[in-house]
């Protein structure tokens, strides 16, 4: 693995973001809107339901966590699609970059993109709604890390589809997170889902992450086994997505998709 090459690919996206104020604004705009909206909904629920009485910021905190997941996953896909849209795809894949270097570089860049959008939104929640996500304490880091790994896994999975099937897969890239959101039990406990959906939900790390976030905020207790389950599942999904990316690259070289995408 070459740090120089990985830095080179990072630099390509860093230049792109820092050169354009509208791009930076776009990164910040949606998380802020999303979190402000959920902030008001959260306030309303807190004063009208018993479930959230003890933790005004539960919905808002979960909204911030979900948005981080969403931005990370979409961010990875965007970085990949950027090469397709700018017709730079061939240049990238004829450069002497290992697949692992491409993935590693985009993983770091996606995190930076997500944080650019999320940090201002998080800073807004405290003065406007009197809520701080930092109430989650040290475990906040583990929840974010777990979401980051899952978001990246999804991003790599969808990018593998783009490699294999070409730009026609782009619509799937946008819809993945919306498809998984109901199973993630972001704003409600898993018992809310019908039994068959619960079985699916238990296969996703999201359920454990969001259950744990609510548990910390509402009950002020920590269930480490939830976090461990989430990390174990994340390990499986990350391994599968990276394997699939390599497989898709191999298939794309056989089928000629790399040339078709590039032009």
């Amino acid at each position: 693995m070459s740090l120089t090459r990985m830095f080179g690919l990072f630099l390509r996206h860093f230049y792109l973001i820092t050169r354009s104020f509208p791009r930076i604004l776009d990164l910040i705009y949606w998380p802020t809107i999303q979190i402000t909206l959920w902030g008001f909904i959260s306030n309303f629920f807190a004063s009208n339901t018993t479930y959230y009485n003890n933790a005004v910021g539960v919905i808002l905190t979960c909204a911030i966590l979900y948005d981080f997941l969403f931005r990370t996953s979409i961010g990875f896909n965007m970085l990949f699609l950027e090469e397709v849209w700018s017709r730079n795809f061939t240049n990238l894949f004829i450069a002497p970059m290992k697949i692992g270097e491409i993935i590693a570089s985009l993983v770091v860049t996606a995190l930076i993109r997500a944080l650019i959008g999320l940090i201002p939104a998080i800073l807004l929640t405290s003065p406007i709604f009197g809520i701080s996500i930092l109430d989650l304490g040290l475990y906040l880091f583990f929840l974010f890390l777990s979401l980051y790994i899952f978001g990246i896994s999804l991003g790599i999975l969808v990018s593998a589809g783009l490699l294999r099937f070409g730009p026609a897969f782009e619509n799937i890239a946008w819809s993945t997170m919306f498809l998984l959101a109901p199973f993630g039990c972001i704003y409600y406990p898993i018992e809310t889902l019908p039994e068959i959906f619960q079985s699916i939900a238990y296969c996703l790390p999201l359920v454990y992450i969001f259950e744990e976030a609510r548990n910390i905020l509402i009950n002020q207790t920590i269930n480490l086994s939830d976090l461990i389950k989430a990390f174990c599942l994340n390990g499986v999904y990350l391994f599968l997505s990276i394997s699939l990316f390599y497989y898709s690259f191999h298939k794309a070289r056989q089928k000629g998709t790399l040339i078709n995408i590039g032009e």
């Binding site: 017709r87 240049n91 990238l92």
Partner: protein, 243 residues
């Protein structure tokens, strides 16, 4: 002279369709080989395999003695490519694009290399402008600078002067000739511009339906087929009759 590119019995099929059918050729150091053929003859597929973008169904490709399938990264470090069908990121300045690709190719003296290419390809006046704002002639020179950023031993050119005005086209051809002579690199030139091929190439391959149907220097082919120029030879061979 060293052989920098060696292609042995190369085949590529998509299902039952044979896109490239058992082609073999060599490109020596300090040589420009022309690759001619009508659309769909297998030129792009061949270049795709030489760039490592396509996996051959069978056969072997050696770049500077190394088999590309076994030493992908090592061989990619020694080659580069230019085509009017691919572009550099439009929202980055020319200089930023060159820096990015210099990093991707692990170029050691980036500043010196960019200065050298800037001077040789006359990029000075628009080095800090967005690549997307340039004219096609300027973009072409920037793409050429990117293709030379890693001092490649082998350069693959797919219609390098398509859509350029005669003055810029001539500048690019002259530059390529001089650069090749100075650095002793090998060039594979796929082009539909027969005057360009006649001027630059000592040897050409004629492809049709995935096969190499003829080869030789432009003058040899003109003489062999009893035509006045390479364009007439091309038309005869691609139509497959004496018309």
């Amino acid at each position: 002279m060293n052989i920098l590119v060696e292609v042995k019995d190369l085949k590529k099929s998509y299902g039952s369709k044979l896109a490239v059918n058992s082609i073999s050729f060599k490109i020596h150091e300090n040589e420009i080989l022309g690759l001619l053929g009508p659309n769909g003859s297998g030129k792009t597929t061949t270049i795709g395999m030489l760039l490592g973008l396509l996996k051959p169904s069978s056969g072997e490709i050696f770049i500077d003695g190394k088999k590309i399938e076994d030493h992908r990264i090592e061989t990619l470090e020694k080659i580069n490519f230019i085509s009017p069908y691919i572009e550099l990121p439009k929202k980055l300045s020319v200089k930023q694009n060159l820096i990015v690709y210099a990093k991707l190719y692990k170029v050691k003296n980036i500043t010196e290399r960019i200065e050298y290419l800037t001077e040789k390809l006359r990029l000075n006046e628009f080095l800090n402008r967005l690549t997307g704002e340039l004219s096609s002639g300027q973009k072409n020179r920037v793409s050429l600078a990117k293709a030379l950023i890693n001092e490649p031993k082998v350069l693959f050119l797919d219609e390098p002067t398509a859509s350029l005005d005669p003055e810029i086209g001539d500048f690019v051809r002259t530059f390529l000739e001089n650069y090749k002579n100075e650095k002793k690199i090998s060039i594979l030139l796929a082009s539909h511009n027969m005057n360009e091929v006649t001027r630059l190439c000592k040897k050409t391959l004629m492809m049709k339906d995935g096969l190499i149907i003829d080869s030789g220097s432009p003058s040899e082919l003109i003489e062999k087929h009893g035509r006045r120029n390479l364009e007439e030879v091309f038309l005869k061979l691609s139509r497959g009759n004496d018309s």
